[in-house]
């Protein structure tokens, strides 16, 4: 491991550790009441005390996030492919995708809830998270499919490639950097979508982390709120990290952004 790499990993950890230490000391020293700002040690305690219920909440949120994300990837790439095959379809539909994107999900949530029925909250959460996660995939893939080197496109024309061959052997692989970039944005948004939707729509059959936060807030169990918050951050970090690793694995062989060059 190079010293630069050690630095890159160690430095943020040290800063984080220092931050929590100062927090801990400051709370103890000034005797801040725990319903305002609990000390990190108190938050860990709350996490341990409510471990089972917090983990099941984490699982609920994770499931909705991952499912919404997966559907967003499939749907976004599929729609972008349709757009790339027909300018007419793209011109006709793209504005609606934009409208879906710019309308705040908080504002659509009650409507979606009414449409799918109050006994179907899980589905409503899934739809709302999907709406938020979908657009970056669609717009990035559309851009990627459109930015393929035009000489390569001509080469495929010269060799009489079919649409399918062109898509599969050229456009999709060439768009991978864009698609993966979109996935990194969309993964985080899926989590935000799932949480915001749960805040607005309430929880379904199982209780997610967002609802745990509201619940704990109502009872002034601020340490538990923080514990749930901690789990949400950890989940977000894990999603981003997994997608970065995926990106590196897929692109490291050939793409400028991921090739290790000796400096």
């Amino acid at each position: 491991m190079t010293s630069g790499r050690i630095k890159r990993i160690a430095l943020p950890h040290l800063v984080g550790l220092a931050f929590f230490l100062i927090w801990e000391v400051a709370v103890q020293f000034y005797e801040v009441p725990q319903f305002l700002l609990p000390a990190p040690s108190r938050i860990l305690e709350a996490l341990a005390d409510n471990f089972a219920s917090l983990m099941s909440a984490l699982w609920v949120t994770l499931r909705i996030t991952v499912l919404a994300f997966a559907l967003a990837v499939v749907g976004g790439v599929a729609l972008a492919v349709v757009f790339s095959q027909s300018r007419t379809v793209e011109t006709a539909l793209f504005p609606f995708a934009v409208i879906l994107q710019v309308t705040p999900v908080v504002a659509i949530a009650p409507l979606v809830l009414i449409w799918v029925g109050f006994d179907n909250v899980n589905l409503a959460l899934l739809i709302l998270a999907w709406i938020v996660a979908f657009f970056p995939i669609l717009s990035n893939t559309t851009l990627g499919l459109r930015s393929v080197d035009h000489h390569l496109m001509e080469l495929f024309t010269l060799y009489g490639a079919s649409r399918w061959q062109r898509l599969w052997s050229l456009q999709l692989p060439a768009s991978l950097p864009h698609i993966l970039g979109g996935m990194k944005i969309s993964g985080g948004l899926a989590l935000i979508g799932a949480v915001v939707a749960e805040f607005v729509a309430g929880s379904g059959s199982g209780t997610g982390l967002a609802w745990r936060i509201i619940e704990a807030g109502n009872r002034l169990q601020v340490p538990t709120m923080f514990a749930a918050l901690l789990l949400l951050s950890a989940l977000g970090i894990a999603i981003f990290f997994s997608l970065s690793v995926l990106e590196h694995i897929v692109l490291s062989r050939w793409h400028e952004s991921a090739i290790d060059r000796e400096k």
Partner: protein
Amino acid sequence: MSTSSATSLVQLSHVTKSFEDGRDVVTDINIDIAQGSFVSLVGPSGCGKSTLLRMLAGLLQPTKGDILWLGSDHARPADLGFVFQDATLLPWASVSENVYLPLKLKEITREAAEPDIDAALERVGLGDAAAKLPHELSGGMAMRVSIARALVTEPPVLLMDEPFAALDELSREKLDDDLLTLWRELGWTVIFVTHSVYESVYLSERILVMGTDGDAAGKPGRIVADLPIDAPYPRGLAFRQCQSYFGHCRTVSSALRGETS
């Protein structure tokens, strides 16, 4: 044109191309290219060389005039090699996968294509680079892959659009020599676009000089001179240094400048 049609591979008569804005890019091109010949197109940039080559390749249709290929239906040969100025390789695919591409698009299996891929790589001197990725290649090697890809289908005609323009002088001379060797071995017709007078004289049997009327940009390009280079092959360093070579270069240069010789 005086070339007899019996040996001609493609004939262009009164070919004109205008783009959407209605401006003619090339106008009234009349040429007849003999089978098996090595023809260069020389001209200043923007005079329409690429446009002409892309019409020959069937990537563009002429606005006016006809392009007639040898053969019953006068259509462009199904197999046609095209080499761009940049190597234009798939960056995620290995050298051998890149060379396989034209065969893959014809739905020939990799196993069946393997001997052809190996032979093509062998011909351009890249026998041991098959597993490399494009970003691991030098500019000259990437260009060689591009040529291997163009010849893997054994096309009767190879169109090249300023293929070595981005390379350093030495790699370029080496590739020029290797291209001539391949041409003589394989019996292709090569149509070679370049803006280098020296390169065109060194390589070709015949040089078509393109130009525009007057200096003003935006005037359509046309063929202003059709010059035979009668030096025998094989050509080598000796040819690059002999009097007749410089004589040809002077003739082409003055044709480029619009002087009548």
